[in-house]
């Protein structure tokens, strides 16, 4: 199972979903703080869910408040940068560009939700692997 996790992780790096910042996070983890990455990731997912929900509500209202949307995206980009979620970060940048030029249809095409989901799935898999290891 560990090998499976390692393969998935490598694939995420290869495809550009994760960048070196994620490695920086892993290096901050040690025996005294073995769950640091998991803790940060959990906070990131909660925060992302909040931001995505806010963004969707703002979009649903129909009148696109670009300042507000840009603000949410700035926050989302910030936390994605800190955790090394590279593709999400890129999409936030694209999104903000659409906001800047007032392009409403643009951001309806960005699959940022899918990116975060992918990262979340990876974390869940890693946790399962850790639990399997503990039981062994």
């Amino acid at each position: 199972m560990q090998r499976q996790v390692a393969l998935i992780k490598q694939s995420l790096f290869d495809q550009g979903y994760l960048d070196e910042q994620f490695i920086e996070l892993e290096e901050l983890q040690d025996d005294a703080n073995p769950n640091f990455v998991e803790e940060v990731a959990t906070l990131y997912f909660k925060d992302s869910a909040r931001l995505i929900s806010n963004i969707e509500q703002a979009l649903e209202r129909g009148s696109f408040d670009f300042n507000r949307l840009d603000n949410y995206m700035h926050q989302f980009k910030g936390s994605s940068t800190s955790i090394g979620a590279s593709k999400v970060k890129t999409e936030c940048t694209m999104f903000r560009e659409y906001c800047r030029v007032g392009n409403a249809e643009g951001f309806l095409t960005i699959p940022y939700l899918r990116r975060v989901q992918m990262f979340e799935d990876f974390q869940a898999t890693e946790e399962r692997a850790r639990n399997v290891e503990k039981e062994a």
Partner: protein, 183 residues
């Protein structure tokens, strides 16, 4: 003369170093992002710093006792060696916090470092002009934090050495006086 010396209590001035404890720098970190707060706290802990993290500039001012509700009474024991703040925060920005700290007589000597995800030169200039110690681009690296810590510790060491030197001079002075008095 030896007996006279032993029974005296040497009253030397008691300046203490401003370090929170012998080795630890106490850092106040300010960031509205929960992910970044977790991250900077870990970076600072790994760098052997004592950390207090708050989620807004307003809370930072409250912590320092600069929010107008409290006077400095009771905050004299608060020893902060470094403030690290995010630039873009809702309500009061890191820049505005920097200005408030530099306006305060109690805290203006404390180095303030600004962190930002955006590399905007006029912004950086403005912060440095206002007295920021440094401007770090996010994501902050462990190397950045260690560099800050090392330069602050060197500064503290200089202060400490000055204090020790002063104590030595005072001790010598008292010793000479006692020598003279003895006869």
């Amino acid at each position: 003369m030896a007996e006279v010396m032993r029974s005296e209590t040497l009253n030397i001035s008691n300046n203490t170093s401003s370090l929170a404890s012998p080795e630890l720098l106490h850092v106040l970190a300010v960031d509205d992002s929960i992910v970044d707060r977790k991250f900077i706290e870990r970076l600072l802990r790994v760098s052997s710093c004592k950390v207090t993290v708050v989620d807004s500039a307003t809370r930072a001012l409250q912590y320092l006792g600069l929010d107008g509700d409290n006077n400095s009474v009771g905050f004299e024991d608060l020893k902060i060696n470094l403030i690290m703040t995010d630039y873009s925060m809702p309500g009061m920005t890191g820049y505005e916090l920097l200005k408030k700290i530099k306006e305060s007589s109690a805290f203006r000597e404390i180095p303030v470092v600004i962190m930002s995800s955006e590399n905007i030169l006029p912004r950086i200039d403005r912060c440095l002009e206002e007295g920021a110690e440094d401007f770090l681009l996010k994501p902050v690296k462990l190397a950045d934090v260690k560099r800050l810590r090392d330069s602050l510790l060197k500064a503290e060491e200089r202060v400490f050495k000055n204090i020790m030197h002063k104590r030595e001079l005072e001790a010598n002075d008292i010793f000479s006086q006692l020598k003279r008095a003895k006869i």
